[in-house]
Structure formats: C-alpha cells, structure tokens
C-alpha cells in the first residue's frame, strides 16, 4: 500500500528554459515565526528583514507569528493570538500552542494559497511545529539554534521525526547550527547566513560623543547586561588592566539590564570609565558601531552565528571577539578581526591594549571586513533563500493542508 507514489508516473522534470530567471517571478510565500513579535529577538528580526526584503522585490509575503490581537504589527504579519511565556530548551520564550493556535494555522494555510512555506525553528513547540504538522507541499525550514546534543531533544525525536520528514529543504544559519541539526536528526542542510542591511550600518552617521580620540579611545559592548553568557563580566574583569595601560579608555555599554549590579566589582575610579547607554534603537546602534574605535564581543557560549559582529564589521568598527566557533568563522580565524580565548579577561585586555595602540592594524581589520561582510548583505542572502524556494518548487505541488493530520482532530478541537 505504501509504494504507490513510486508506481505512479513520475512528474516530468519541468525545465522552463525561458524563465530560468525564476527569482524574478512573483511568489506567494508564507513565513512562520514561532516567537512572539511583542519581544525583540534574533529570529524575529531575521523574519522581519527577510519578509520586508522579499516584499520589496515584489513577492507576496504573509508572516504568521504569535502576537496579541491588540499588539500593533506590520501589515504583512498575521497575528495568531496570545503567546504564553514558557520555558523550553533552557530559556523562557513566548510561544503559541494548543487547539486555538492550530485552528488559526490551518485557516492561514487555507487562505494563503502559498507557493512555498518557510518555517523558522521548526522544532520549537509553537506555531512552527503546528504549521509543519498541518501543511504539505514545498516546505523550507530554517534552523537558527546551535546547542550541544541535548537529551530532551533526543527524547522528543519519535514525536518530531514524522513532522521533520515533511521539510523538503533545510537551511542552517551557520555551520554550528547545521552541526546541531545533523547531530540530532541526521540528514543534511545548506548553510545560508543571517542577513544584515550592510549599507544601513556602513552609511550610519557617527555620533561625536561616542567617537574616540587618541587619548580617550572608545570601546563598545552590545548585549544583555544581566545575561552572563553575553560576556559583560569578562569585559569588566579586563577593565583595570586596560586602564592601567591606556587610562583614558571609555567603555560604552549598549543593552538592557541592571547596570549597577553588573559593575559592582569595579572600583569607583574604574567605574567612571564605563557609560551605560541602556537599550538603543537600530539607528542609534548603527551610529554607536560607526563611532567607536573597537567593538568587543566577549560572549562565552550559546552563539550560533554572531549577527552583531557582522553589524559592527559593516559599520567599520574593528572587532575583538572571543574565539567561539561561530565567531572564528565570521572573522575568518582572525583575518577580519582579533580573537582572544573564551572567558579570559587577561587575554582580552592584552589584545585590546594592543589594538588601541595600533591604528594601522585596526584600519586593516576594518578594510578587509568591509569587503567580507558583503556576503551577509540582505540582497545576497535573500537571493540564496529565493534559490532554495525555486528549488523546492521544482517538481512539487503548491502548499496544501495535510489530510492526515489537519483534518477532523483540529476541526473538533477548534
């Protein structure tokens, strides 16, 4: 009973020579984001930028994401209802699940009539998994996370496998994310990096108050202050040694969180070198990165890609980063920015003092990085994503609803 698909006549490979510029045809694209648009986050930004870029190219895009019905969302976002904060895979995320969400996913699929369905983080217990469960046809999945092999994910495999098998093309945002995926589920994935609007950073206006002088160089940190994984404690531990060598150095810290607590270990004299900027919007962040002499990324783990590094490189800020796998790859093993041992404040201080004293080295990093970041520019990245869409559409039907799963059960429940 199972082999019928093979016994049937194989669809003729469609070879439309005349429209091989497929990327320019207008597509109907459905994108599913599992995390709430009420909260800032890497996946949400990625989905937003991708959707806006594709719309700008003339495609029809609808994004399904959790959001309260009264939360203002961009016009292309379909709010799927309230998201609930729950702990999953070690951190709290706002997710949407349950029969009401499943019903909305089915309705969205039915009304959207999509050529391609693009699901982000397909294994998160939210809209993504529901969409995967309910849909058939050309489905693209993008995997953002890189985690060590987790027991919970392995335990969940029998539940996830049949859904995972529906994804016809798997994208990982980095080599690390690809490895995580292959370790857990086998198979393979193509690596397409996260995108950055390079020119928005390259063309940002520097802000004089944040620009360094030879006596008072400026160093930027970007990230949650109260999340140790982002590495602020490593930077603060390095501050005394840096100030001993270059007393005028100013540290500009961008990010939400309780600053006083994070800086409690510093003496008042050292504390004065740190300026807490709080949370800034995108344009201000670009100005900051455009202004400073060095951007430091002292993260200690859990980074799958390192988008801020690419943003800093786009803005022309020389980068000093911990030698995490993802960062080493973005910095081409030290060719595009300096690296120091993960979690080692002494190594950070030595490298930072060296960089601050060597303008030529900094200029060299900035110059090489400005060329290398072009591969992360949205037009380049979106083109690769479109190539994936075109590839999964060849020989496949449109996106539809799975009669085996999407049918009676959810209709009863919703």
């Amino acid at each position: 009973m199972g082999g019928s698909a093979v016994d049937e006549v194989r669809p003729e490979p469609e070879v439309p020579f005349d429209d091989s510029r497929g990327a320019e045809r207008s597509l109907r694209i459905g994108i599913v984001c599992p995390y709430s648009f009420d909260v800032a986050g890497g996946v949400q930004y990625h989905v937003r930028d991708l959707a806006e870029h594709l719309i700008g190219q003339g495609h029809h895009v609808s994004v399904l994401a959790p959001a309260d019905d009264d939360t203002p969302v961009p016009s292309y976002v379909e709010a799927s209802g309230r998201a609930v904060p729950v702990k999953f895979n070690g951190s709290v995320a706002r997710l949407a699940f349950g029969p009401v969400s499943a019903g909305r996913v089915r309705r969205w699929l039915g009304e959207g009539d999509f050529d391609v369905l693009h699901i982000h983080e397909p294994v998160s217990p939210s809209l993504s998994l529901l969409a995967l469960w309910a849909a058939t046809g050309p489905i693209v999945g993008t995997f953002h996370t890189s985690t060590p092999r987790s027991r919970a994910m392995i335990a969940a495999q029998p539940v996830l496998r049949p859904s995972m098998e529906k994804i016809s093309a798997r994208i990982a945002v980095s080599e690390d994310a690809r490895r995580t995926l292959v370790d857990h589920f086998g198979g393979d994935a193509v690596v397409i990096p996260n995108g950055v609007y390079v020119d928005r950073f390259a063309g940002a206006t520097p802000f004089p108050a944040w620009q360094g002088t030879p006596d008072r160089p400026t160093v930027a940190f970007v990230g949650r202050i109260d999340e140790p994984r982002k590495g602020l404690p490593v930077l603060t531990a390095a501050i005394p040694a840096v100030l001993a060598a270059r007393p005028g150095t100013r540290f500009l810290v961008l990010g939400r969180g309780d600053g006083d607590e994070a800086l409690a270990g510093l003496s008042p004299a050292h504390r004065r070198s740190v300026e807490l900027l709080g949370a800034l919007d995108d344009a201000e962040k670009a100005s900051l990165l455009r202004s400073v002499d060095v951007y430091v990324a002292p993260q200690t783990g859990g980074e799958s890609f390192g988008i801020v590094l690419v943003e800093a490189m786009s803005a022309g800020a020389p980068v000093l980063a911990s030698a995490l796998g993802a960062f080493r790859r973005v910095l081409a093993d030290g060719a595009l920015g300096a690296l120091f041992d993960v979690g080692d404040p002494a190594a950070l201080a030595t490298q930072l003092v060296g960089l601050l004293g060597d303008p030529e080295c900094r200029a060299g990093f900035a110059r090489r990085a400005a060329v290398a970041v072009r591969r992360y520019d949205w037009p380049v990245v979106a083109r690769q994503v479109l190539a994936v869409y075109e590839t999964v559409r060849l020989g496949a039907d449109r996106v539809g609803q799975d009669p085996a799963t999407g049918g009676r059960l959810t209709r009863w429940l919703s």
Binding site: M1, V15, F17
Partner: protein, 184 residues
Amino acid sequence: MTDWVLGALALLLLAWYLSSSAGRLDRLHHRVESTRAALDGQLARRAAAALEIAHGLDPATGLLLTDAASQALAAGEERPPDVPVLEAVENDLTRALQAAFADPDDLRALRGDPMLGESLDLLAQACLRVQLARRFHNDAVATAQRVRRKRVVRWARLAGHAEWPQMVELDDTPPPGLVDPAPS
C-alpha cells in the same frame, strides 16, 4: 467478551499504526521523487546556461563548454525517467566549467561585458542551485532509507515494490571565482 473487545482494539490500533507508517513512507517516497525531479531540472538549467555563455566566449573555450554541456543535455533528454543521473557526464561539465572560468582576471573582464555579464550571472545561479537541489535530494534519500530500515516497514512490506532510494554522488563544485559574491 472483554477479550474479544480487547482483541478488536489491538487490531484497530495495529491497523492505524500500519496505515500511518505507510502514509509516512509514501510521503517520503514522494519527496525523494520530487527532489530528484528538481535536481534533474537544475542540472538541465546549468547545462543550458553553460551552452548559452559558450557562444560568447573565445572559440576554444566555447567549444570545450559546448561539448560538455550538450553531452549533459543529451544524456538528460535520452534518459528514461527511472534511470539515475549520468554522474560521469555531469562531472565532465563541472570540470569543463572549472577549466573555462579558472582565471579571476578573465572572469572580471567577462562580468564587465553587458551581454556576457548577465549570462555569467545566470550560470552562477544555476551552479548554486544544482548544489542546493542535490543536497535536498540526498537529505530526502537518507531519511527515506532510515525509515525503510525500520523493522515494521520491512516485515509488513510497507514499501511495496518501490526501489531502494539512492543518493546522487557527483562533483558539483562551481568554479571558485564564479559564485563568490563579487565585492562591489
């Protein structure tokens, strides 16, 4: 009486399990088929793009490319649908492309040409898409193979007469200078 009900329930459960496993396998076979069709399509596009650009190159390089590309196109057209891709022919085209576009200076000159620049761009896209399509196909094959190795699938012969899915192994590395996004 209870035994009878329990037995019927167990049978029902078994039937449901078998039918859902069969459905899953069916879907996987379909995915293997459609990704194969996509790969065939992308290979044909690559050959067509190579043929197109061959007309604008110097005669020696042009002849080399035309030969390899038309061999690949002919092999694709004459091949019955269930015969695997002719890997040797596609490998030859890959090597011909690598040989034709080995020199970065030549490539830069070609990119500057208004007519050829566009064809070159199409060829670069086609080369990348072959890589994508092959990876997606082999991913589908690996998944299908794993499910078909499951005991219940073998014992209940859920795969029917379907052939054992095979990966496509060929060299699809594009010429290095061709696909790297050119720094502007």
